[in-house]
């Protein structure tokens, strides 16, 4: 098994899976029916990506049967998602900030990942990137609407940025796993699109009436399994059923 590729697939699959689970918490609770449908559809797209990445990872590991085994039978320390996606939904503004930051980054990553030397990774990314464009557009629209809405929506949006901003640097660092795959042309270097990413953020923030603070130093290492306390609670809900009833079928 190629260890670096396996870990990279977990990172991509776990980001999508955990964010999907977070979005599903909005189902039936969103401010309007249209938003409810939008967030559920975003979650569904992400779940589809997670299934494809985790199934591919499972196919490389003889100890793991399929994507479900990875999703439901790992503990928090074995998850490789970034800390941004596991943050609580908070209010609608906080959810939108998280989505905007992640989808904007994911779109740029997957645009490049679609040209990966690994044909399966390239196929998954090429398929997913079309969906992610919608996610990035939808969340950018809401950033601008909330920023320019009422004093209250603007205040909440600022609080959302305050919460999420410190978790952005984790998206932009490359460790030795990334570096190995960058050398093999399987994955892009996040540094190669950092300027584009920050430009896009600045553009939307400006329209939403937000200031762009300088990025702090990265402290997070969700990619190595060091998570915030929020992930454990999320997994309790997500994994309860398959753990309590191991052979449960639809």
């Amino acid at each position: 098994m190629e260890r670096a590729l396996y870990d990279y697939l977990l990172r991509r699959g776990d980001d999508s899976l955990i964010l999907s689970q977070r979005l599903s918490e909005w189902c039936g609770h969103a401010p309007t029916i249209e938003v409810d449908l939008s967030l559920a559809n975003l979650g569904l797209d992400l779940l589809g990506q997670a299934t494809l990445f985790l199934d591919y990872a499972a196919s490389m590991n003889a100890d793991v049967h399929n994507a479900d085994a990875l999703a439901f039978h790992r503990d928090a320390a074995e998850f490789r998602n970034c800390l941004l996606v596991e943050q609580p939904n908070g209010d609608f503004a906080q959810t939108i900030v998280r989505q905007f930051l992640y989808s904007t980054w994911q779109k740029m990553l997957f645009d490049r990942l679609a040209f990966s030397k690994d044909p399966t990774v390239a196929a998954i990314a090429a398929k997913a990137v079309k969906e992610i464009s919608y996610h990035a557009d939808l969340s950018a629209d809401w950033m601008i609407r909330l920023g320019g809405g009422t004093d209250e929506s603007n205040r909440r949006l600022k609080a959302g940025v305050e919460w999420m901003w410190r978790l952005v640097p984790e998206l932009l660092v490359a460790d030795e796993i990334d570096n190995e795959l960058i050398t093999k042309d399987i994955a892009p270097d996040p540094a190669s699109f950092e300027t584009d990413f920050m430009t896009k953020i600045a553009e939307v923030f400006a329209e939403a009436g937000l200031d762009v603070s300088p990025l702090p130093r990265n402290f997070a290492s969700g990619r190595r399994g060091y998570h915030s306390e929020h992930l454990g609670h999320l997994l309790c809900t997500m994994q309860y059923l398959p753990r309590a009833y191991p052979d449960a079928q639809w």
């Binding site: 249209e34 449908l37 939008s38 559920a40 559809n41 975003l42 569904l44 797209d45 992400l46 779940l47 589809g48 990506q49 299934t51 494809l52 044909p119 399966t120 390239a122 196929a123 998954i124 090429a126 398929k127 997913a128 079309k130 969906e131 919608y134 557009d137 939808l138």
Partner: protein, 147 residues
């Protein structure tokens, strides 16, 4: 039994999409290749729950016609696009009340034909559709998203 492509194609043309039963999996461009030993299909959206149902429905139809040994293969690349929906499929969608996908910035109302329409939400009842409303006849309608 003899395997002939024409009858396998005919069987597939009878398999309806589970979400939009007026169009077949062939109309939607989901069937990418037909051979005497295998059929290749592609999902529309990564997370579309209909994908599993479609595969099961195709399996059932092939089995019922005696083609148990025809394998179904799922193919991700090249990614599905609405360009692959056939002209016949587009007509069927419109007749069913769904504006077919196209590159225009506006949609024509499938009920009254008016171009005086507006998008309510880019996300509709399924991942592949957006929610629109006709300003002329005031009816809401689904529009197949260009993808």
């Amino acid at each position: 039994m003899t395997h002939d492509l024409a009858s396998i194609r005919a069987i597939l043309a009878q398999v309806a999409d589970p979400e939009i039963p007026v169009v077949s999996v062939v109309d939607l461009g989901i069937v990418r290749e037909v051979g005497v030993r295998h059929v290749a299909i592609t999902p529309t959206y990564s997370g579309c729950p209909a994908t599993h149902v479609i595969e099961a429905d195709i399996r059932k139809a092939l089995d019922a016609a005696g083609y148990q040994d025809v394998q179904i293969e799922t193919r991700l690349a090249p990614p599905w696009t609405t360009e692959w929906i056939t002209l016949e499929g587009r007509d069927k969608l419109k007749a069913y009340g769904i504006a077919p996908p196209d590159r225009r910035t506006y949609a024509s109302c499938p009920q009254c034909g008016s171009d005086n329409t507006e998008e309510l939400s880019r996300f509709g009842s399924t991942p592949c559709k957006a929610l629109w409303r006709c300003r002329q006849c005031l009816e809401p309608f689904d529009r197949f998203k260009c993808h």
